[in-house]
């Protein structure tokens, strides 16, 4: 707490730190400056010694110099300026304009004097042309006897690197001071410094890796040649091609969301409200597309319906069938995303108090009437919410359109092409920001409207016995529908597995094991680096998300809402945007990370943090705070409480957050496609490359392997979580 003594001590220590830091900072700056002056002087000596012997040739000299040193500017004067017989010969007259400025008269005089003593003169202040800073040097060109200057050379040397270095050191010093004073402040004044540090670290992480990259991305779309301008946005919003992509994304989103919600509702109804058999199998199969790696379903769609697809070519003999485009995309996205709608709707349908339906049935309403006038209206907010969820997911989807869009344009792929194909980072950033618009709208609608309109009657515990709302006929139809969709999912996966063992899909269906060997040999490095980096990210994300959850649930502090929003932000923004923001922010100092494995790890952690935090928060809310208070009362500090009480109690959330991070990192595409390097490659990109080169066999092998890894991790998680299930019970019944 704040006492006078502490305040004084704090101020003194901070002052000492600031002084020390200033000393280091200025020493660094001075040394750097001295070195660069030395370099410049020798550079200029080299220039002047290359001066043409004939005075007549001096006229061309500045041009020659400009050709050799394109970053610098030159102006040549015969004799010494101000003295008799001096004459401007040529070059960049802007340099001489500075010389002539009345305000610079004394400096110019000194410079002329130096030149006449054959010494190089450095203009004391930086000068700037067109927004670029320069160091201006005035150098004598000695005559043959080395006794006097026969000409004077004005050189403006590009100092932007030097200035940037100064700024960098300066900002590092400021950041270091801020961090120190915050940290020291917490240590001095806080009752609970450990939590204080944790908050500080979390804040530093999200500021550096969420706020900063996003701000950089937005900034890039708002500047042109160093100036604020809306040019990028004007280009984007007036270009047909880009608008087509925007419309394409929205169109695809609408189709996918509608189909998915329909299928999802059928599934949910069949599982929650009828006595259909095989519910567990159906549910299990439906969750497969959610966890399976990207490209795998697309791959299998291509194998089935592509140009050489087994159905389109072999079975139906179609020659010009084109799966690439809206149709194919909607198909594959629906299969991948209807489970989201299914799971949401299942929750909603189970939460509806069936006594309402029973009452309706008791009043002799028909089942159909009950369904249409009781169940459906109650489920409506849930339906809308599923629709929006799928819509958002469809828009953010990058992997499926990347392989399957053909000439159909969608925003996520368009922004990728802008960045990697055209090198137009600003357009790419703007396009991916555009993607945020419909997503945010959907999110707001969800927040404002759906949550208010929600009249699902939640009775606390899910009603134990739900009435079978379907007549036998309807149930049979529903079961049939579910069976067909499930069968299709099975077929898709079977196709991938089959693809592993076929020599050349569509042409030569001979059985072979060669694919496996080749895929392993060529994918080994990618697979290893993917596993390594995912393995590193997993515990970091796990711990970090549990710490964040703990702090968000249990601690009160200034800026908590902001911290929470920043942590949750990556959940709402498309991976493409995050990836582009990352290359923008981290391809330059102070955080030069592009090309390292670290940038991938950071990306994984940042992207998966929100889900982990959400799980942790939910788990912590179940725990009576007096458990932690008791531990604290018995002498445990916050770190010990976290380790010995919190972590064991929220173990299920911890484990699932970790397995989720691992799986999602193994199957990432949209963000990391911008961030991979030759050294740190990613297995999914390898699959993409194989598919692009029509090596479907190899792609199938890697996909199958990834699916197996994912399933294994989830299986392991189930096992670990089940072990601790008894815990959850005792926690909640306490």
């Amino acid at each position: 707490m704040f006492t006078k003594k502490k305040l004084i001590m704090f101020a003194v220590v901070c002052a000492i730190f600031a002084v020390g830091e200033f000393w280091i900072f200025s020493t660094l700056q001075n040394t750097f400056e001295k070195n660069s002056i030395k370099e410049m002087t020798s550079l200029i000596k080299a220039m002047t010694s290359s001066a043409p012997q004939n005075d007549e040739d001096l006229a061309h000299w500045s041009e020659e110099l400009s050709a050799i040193y394109p970053d610098n500017r030159f102006f040549v004067i015969k004799g010494v300026p101000g003295e008799e017989g001096s004459e401007n010969i040529g070059g960049d007259s802007a340099l001489f304009d500075i010389w002539k400025l009345p305000a610079n008269a004394t400096i110019a005089e000194n410079a002329a004097e130096s030149v006449s003593y054959l010494e190089v003169f450095r203009w004391p202040a930086k000068v700037s042309f067109l927004g670029v800073p320069y160091t201006l040097m005035v150098a004598p060109v000695p005559d043959e006897e080395d006794s006097s200057a026969r000409a004077t050379l004005l050189v403006a040397i590009d100092a932007s690197g030097y200035v940037a270095f100064g700024k960098l050191v300066q900002s590092l010093a400021v950041v270091a001071f801020l961090l120190f004073s915050l940290g020291f402040g917490i240590a001095t004044f806080s009752r609970d410094p450990i939590s204080g540090y944790a908050i500080l670290v979390l804040a530093a992480i999200v500021i550096a890796f969420v706020a900063y990259p996003l701000i950089e991305a937005v900034r890039l779309t708002l500047v042109k040649e160093g100036r604020f301008s809306f040019d990028v946005w004007k280009t984007i919003l007036s270009n047909r091609q880009y608008l087509q992509a925007l419309w394409g994304s929205i169109q695809l989103g609408i189709v996918t969301a509608t189909l998915s919600t329909f299928i999802g509702f059928m599934y949910a109804f069949a599982v929650a409200r009828t006595s259909m058999r095989g519910k567990r199998l159906v549910t299990g199969l439906a969750t497969m597309p959610v966890i399976s790696p990207p490209f795998s379903l697309t791959l299998s769609i291509i194998l089935l319906f592509g140009k050489n697809g087994i159905i389109t070519k072999q079975l139906l003999g179609l020659q010009n069938f084109n799966i690439y485009g809206l149709g194919g995309l909607a198909l594959v996205q629906t299969i991948s995303m209807f489970p989201i709608a299914f799971l949401t709707m299942q929750g909603v349908l189970q939460a509806i108090d069936s006594t309402l339906e029973d009452a309706s049935l008791d009043l002799n309403a028909s089942r159909w009437h009950t369904f249409a006038h009781v169940t459906l209206p109650l489920a409506a907010p849930g339906l809308l919410s599923s629709w929006l969820l799928v819509f958002t997911n469809s828009l953010a989807d990058f992997a499926n359109p990347l392989l399957l869009s053909g000439s159909y344009r969608v925003l996520s792929v368009e922004s990728y092409i802008e960045v990697t194909g055209m090198g137009r980072l600003n357009n790419g950033a703007a396009l991916s920001l555009l993607l945020l618009l419909p997503t945010l709208t959907a999110f707001l609608v969800q927040r404002r409207w759906v949550s208010k309109k929600s009249f699902v009657v939640v009775t606390g515990k899910p009603s134990t016995r739900l009435s079978d709302l379907a007549s036998p006929g309807a149930r049979r139809a529903l079961t049939g529908f579910v069976a067909v969709v499930s069968g299709f999912i099975v077929a898709l996966y079977a196709t991938i597995v089959a693809g592993c063992f076929v020599k050349n899909w569509g042409i030569d269906y001979t059985f072979t094991l060669a694919n496996i060997g080749e895929a392993l040999a060529r994918g080994k490095q990618a697979l290893l680096s993917t596993i390594t980096l995912a393995g590193i990210a997993t515990p970091i994300a796990g711990i970090l998300s549990m710490v964040a959850a703990f702090i968000l649930v249990r601690k009160k502090f200034l800026g908590k809402r902001i911290l929470e929003s920043l942590i949750m932000t990556p959940f709402a923004i498309p991976g493409t945007l995050l990836g582009i923001s990352f290359i923008l922010a981290f391809n330059k100092p102070p955080l030069l990370l592009v090309g390292t494995g670290a940038i991938l790890v950071i990306n994984y952690v940042i992207r998966e943090l929100p889900v982990g935090v959400e799980g942790g928060v939910a788990a912590l809310r179940q725990i009576d705070p007096s458990i932690e208070e008791a531990a604290s009362d018995l002498g445990a500090d916050q770190a010990t409480i976290f380790r010995t009480i919190i972590l064991p109690l929220i173990r299920p959330a911890f484990i699932s957050s970790m397995s989720y991070t691992f799986v999602r990192s193994m199957t990432a595409v949209s963000a990391i496609i911008f961030l991979i390097s030759a050294r740190w490659y990613h297995i999914t990109i390898q699959i993409y490359n194989f598919s692009e080169n029509l090596r479907f066999g190899l792609a199938s092998v890697l996909s199958t392997m990834l699916i197996i890894i994912v399933l294994a991790v989830f299986g392991l998680m189930r096992l670990l979580v089940r072990q601790s299930e008894f815990l959850e019970k005792t926690v909640t019944t306490q």
């Binding site: 008791a630 009362d633 500090d637 109690l649 005792t730 306490q734």
Partner: protein, 366 residues
């Protein structure tokens, strides 16, 4: 087992909760001043929401006072976090660690203090013996009865030998019989260890039977501090009188106070009464009430009556009989000791009530 007993002192402690959204303020505790002597057991007694828990939590370090100072022993602990205070709290909801068995729950504080394995074992076993839970050392807390859980919580707090034991309605989840047993047990342990203890309850019987002194609170303010006897016999206000026991109030006017400084001359219903004691803040001419406990009331003839009414119930308790009479001043309970052989009024009968003047007390009217 316990270290030297220490006193606890609160001076001008105030706690204001501020709703972050509405900015509404709740004055949970206002200007609390009291001290607890070494080895003493003091109860905080008051109706729900009067600030008892908040007071206790400030002493334990879970809540920071808005103003004021808290001292334990000689040191100012106002801003110290709970883990460095020498207090141990038994929470209303126990706060047992669900992922540890009874032994580990109790050993937790000792492990934090990095004691040797052997010492931990000895001390945990000793304290489990003390609370009678040796048999259950390896049960999970989720599979204990409420009373057993409560004893684990107590053992866990005692084993670290705190200077101050804080108990927040520890018995509220137990049934009546168990509550009585545990009450005796807690008192016995606290006395034998000489620990300074602060006990929160809203149950007056618990407070009266357990404590050396009682602090009565209302709406965040301390009303009265005193021994159970003081509080019962000499309450300072109608609120305290009513909260700590059954009582009848008769509207009165204070005429004056006799030279002994205690006896108050009052008029009650036109009749002159010399009340045995008077609340200090009452001056002559003030509107007052005369309070009478059931045991100082009796049935009298019409000429000596202060009030009259009809008997609504008669409850036979063995050593005494309680007679409930509906009067103009509300329902009055008259307690008649040694009922055997006496003629008792029956339900519906009209009776006249008088009191023993020496035993009644004049209080300021609300």
């Amino acid at each position: 087992m316990a270290a030297k007993s220490v006193p606890v002192m609160l001076s001008d402690v105030t706690k204001i909760f501020r709703d972050p959204k509405t900015k509404a303020e709740v004055h949970a505790v206002e200007n609390a001043n009291f001290d607890v002597k070494p080895g003493e057991l003091v109860t905080l007694l008051g109706p729900s929401g009067c600030g008892k828990t908040t007071t206790l939590r400030m002493i334990g370090g879970f809540e920071l006072p808005t103003r004021g100072k808290i001292l334990i022993g000689d040191s100012d602990v106002t801003f110290l976090p709970p883990n460095v205070r020498q207090t141990a709290t038994v929470f209303q909801s126990y706060g047992l660690f669900p992922h540890m068995d009874v032994f580990d729950n109790v050993a937790y504080g000792l492990k934090i203090r990095k004691l040797s394995q052997d010492e931990i074992k000895n001390r945990v076993n000793a304290v489990l013996d003390l609370v009678g839970l040796s048999e259950l050392a390896h049960r999970a807390p989720g599979r204990l009865s409420g009373g057993q859980q409560q004893r684990v919580a107590l053992a866990r707090s005692l084993v670290v030998e705190p200077q101050v034991l804080l108990l927040d309605e520890p018995l509220s989840n137990l049934d009546a019989l168990l509550r009585e047993q545990m009450r005796v047990e807690i008192r016995r342990i606290q006395k034998s260890l000489g620990i300074t203890a602060i006990y929160v309850t809203h149950d007056r019987i618990e407070a009266m039977s357990l404590s050396d002194r009682v602090i009565v609170m209302r709406d965040g303010r301390i009303q009265q501090v005193g021994t159970p006897g003081d509080i019962y016999e000499y309450p300072v206000s109608m609120f305290v009188a009513g909260f700590v026991g059954k009582v009848a109030f008769f509207p009165a006017r204070l005429e004056g106070i006799e030279d002994d400084g205690r006896t108050a001359l009052c008029t009650v219903g036109g009749r002159k009464v010399r009340a045995g004691s008077v609340a200090g803040n009452l001056g002559a001419g003030a509107r007052a009430v005369v309070m009478a406990r059931p045991e100082s009331l009796r049935l009298v003839g019409r000429e000596d009556a202060i009030a009259t009414g009809m008997v609504t119930a008669r409850v036979y308790l063995g050593s005494s009989v309680e007679i409930y009479v509906k009067t103009e001043a509300g329902e009055i309970l008259v307690q008649i000791d040694d009922p055997s052989g006496k003629i008792l009024p029956s339900e519906g009968e009209t009776v006249w009530i008088g009191f023993d003047e020496k035993l009644v007390r004049a209080l300021p009217a609300d």
